[in-house]
Amino acid sequence: MSGVQYSITARDLCLWYGKFQALKNVDVKIQHGLITGLIGPSGCGKTTLLRCFNRVNERYGYVTTTGEIKILNKNIYDPDVSLIELRKSVGMVFQRPNPLPISVYENVVFGLRVHKERAALKKSTLNQAVEEALTEVGLWKDLKDRLQTKATGLQLEQQQKLCIARLLPLKPEVILMDEPCSALDVEGARAIEELMFELKGRYTMVIVTHNMAQARRVSDECIFMLLGELIEHARTEDMFLTPANPKTAEYIEGRYG
């Protein structure tokens, strides 16, 4: 390996919702430990591509997928892949924070409860997991005395951080983020962006965003998509300063979108 490690490698990926082709021959390599931004106008397939990476697309209705996606050198469309194990490694954060209507504590350990045998879950293990995860997302100080309160009553920013914290006890390889800041105010968005910088290096993050400025601020690499095709994939600075494709340039300048 030449120094560069890839978390996700998609080859010739096509996807259909019924008869409609949403992804057309997408080839992409996403580097380990970086933040990769997915940009493009509405309906270009950003979210669809994101949802392919943990195959959660398949829960939303009839989809047909061809091609392959390798995560940690394993094709996730191989028949022996367990979706449950896959989603343990590839978690997702949504546009609207969606903490479960249970306590903060239970939200964080939800993944462990779902994946581990009951006997393996000692109280001390769980407590430790909660402290570690909440510390990692910067909520521990604020919430350590309120672990038993309902997560749905927190501020939106805290809810979104909690949704990220919920993935961490499972030691994910990849965290997928579908416009994680668009339901938050400016302060909240800034906090989430800072959190992403904190998590960088340990986790590979892929973020879908409509906000050009945000893509520019947070991402190391950027992928521009249009009508289901991958148009350009480059380092973020390069893409924003010297886009290779005229369509990319026009989109970034705001001529359409």
Binding site: F94, L100, V114
Partner: protein, 306 residues
């Protein structure tokens, strides 16, 4: 700055003829709909007051706790109350689990295809079948074909079939009211469907599910036609006044609804207040059950927040 084209400031926002006309139709619409809404309430109050008033002479503690005598025209209604209790309990014990579980399957597992479409269609149509037809079905299926004879069990099963589609529909509605985002959250940490249902969906829809089931109690208690054909007698002499008056597998029983029908239409020489007294008891049971459903829902709702 002056705005030349506008009328003088005094008439700026004044009522015009058109606005007055709009106000008038607004008022008429409001009153009309209000009267319609009141028209819903008035009959209910009239019925309850009328029934209770007419039934008063026969109502007493003794009336509730003693068994009927002389073919039902004298004595109390205890054995009919117990019969209704048996039928309602057994039929719900059958229909609630089947209904709730099949609704969970339809709402959480089943994909949209021809099979589920047929099931949906069956559920909707089954809900529209008249109760007397259910009675005939029960007579053929349980009493004769399954060899259960006319018994509490046959009557209960018949009522189960009748309430199933409604329980399925109300349960599905309760399940669907749990936000998709909760399910998404679960899927994306790798929860199976069953884990999602058990940990998140059911705890958050249980109030709606229970309400739907409990409301079927009142319907089951009130039905006459299906039970008349399948296992309820017009009169049945029983020993004692405990709770264990019947063997549900072999015995026919009395029931409040049937007793009311019989006394009101078939029996001679019954005191005129008797049918009203029975109706009062039946109404009280129904209202009590409905009230407890509302109370339970309010309690469970107060515990969940999102």
């Amino acid at each position: 700055m002056t705005v030349a084209s506008n009328p003088s400031p005094r008439t700026q926002f004044a009522e015009t003829r058109l606005v007055r006309k709009k106000h008038r139709s607004e008022l008429i619409a409001k009153c009309f709909f209000g009267v319609m809404a009141a028209a819903m309430v008035i009959p209910l109050i009239l019925i309850v007051v009328h029934v209770v008033k007419q039934g008063m002479p026969s109502l007493s503690w003794e009336f509730l706790t003693t068994n009927p005598r002389l073919g039902g025209i004298r004595g109390g209604i205890w054995s009919a109350i117990v019969g209704t209790l048996y039928i309602v309990t057994i039929s719900l014990c059958v229909s609630a689990p089947i209904g709730v579980l099949s609704a969970v399957y339809l709402n959480e597992y089943a994909k949209e295809n021809w099979f589920t479409r047929i099931v949906h269609l069956a559920v909707v149509n089954l809900a529209g079948v008249p109760s007397i037809v259910h009675g005939l079905f029960g007579l053929g299926a349980f009493v004769y074909a399954a060899g259960m004879g006319k018994s509490i069990l046959s009557a209960s099963l018949t009522l189960s079939i009748m309430t199933l589609p409604v329980i399925i529909a109300s349960t599905k509605e309760a399940l669907a009211s749990v936000p998709v985002s909760f399910r998404e959250a679960c899927w994306n940490v790798g929860a199976t469907r069953w884990q999602t249902i058990r940990r998140i969906v059911l705890p958050n829809s249980i109030s709606g599910i229970l309400t739907g089931v409990i409301l079927q109690v009142s319907r089951t208690a009130g039905e006459t036609a299906p039970v008349m054909l399948t296992g309820v007698a017009t009169f049945k002499a029983v020993e004692g006044t405990g709770l264990f008056l019947y063997n549900p597998f072999t015995d026919q029983s009395m029931a409040l609804s049937m007793h009311l029908y019989y006394i009101a239409t078939q029996a001679n020489n019954a005191p005129p207040s008797l049918p009203y007294a029975i109706a009062t008891v039946l109404l009280s049971v129904v209202l009590l059950v409905n009230a407890s459903a509302i109370g339970l829902r309010a309690y469970l709702r107060s515990r969940k927040k999102w």
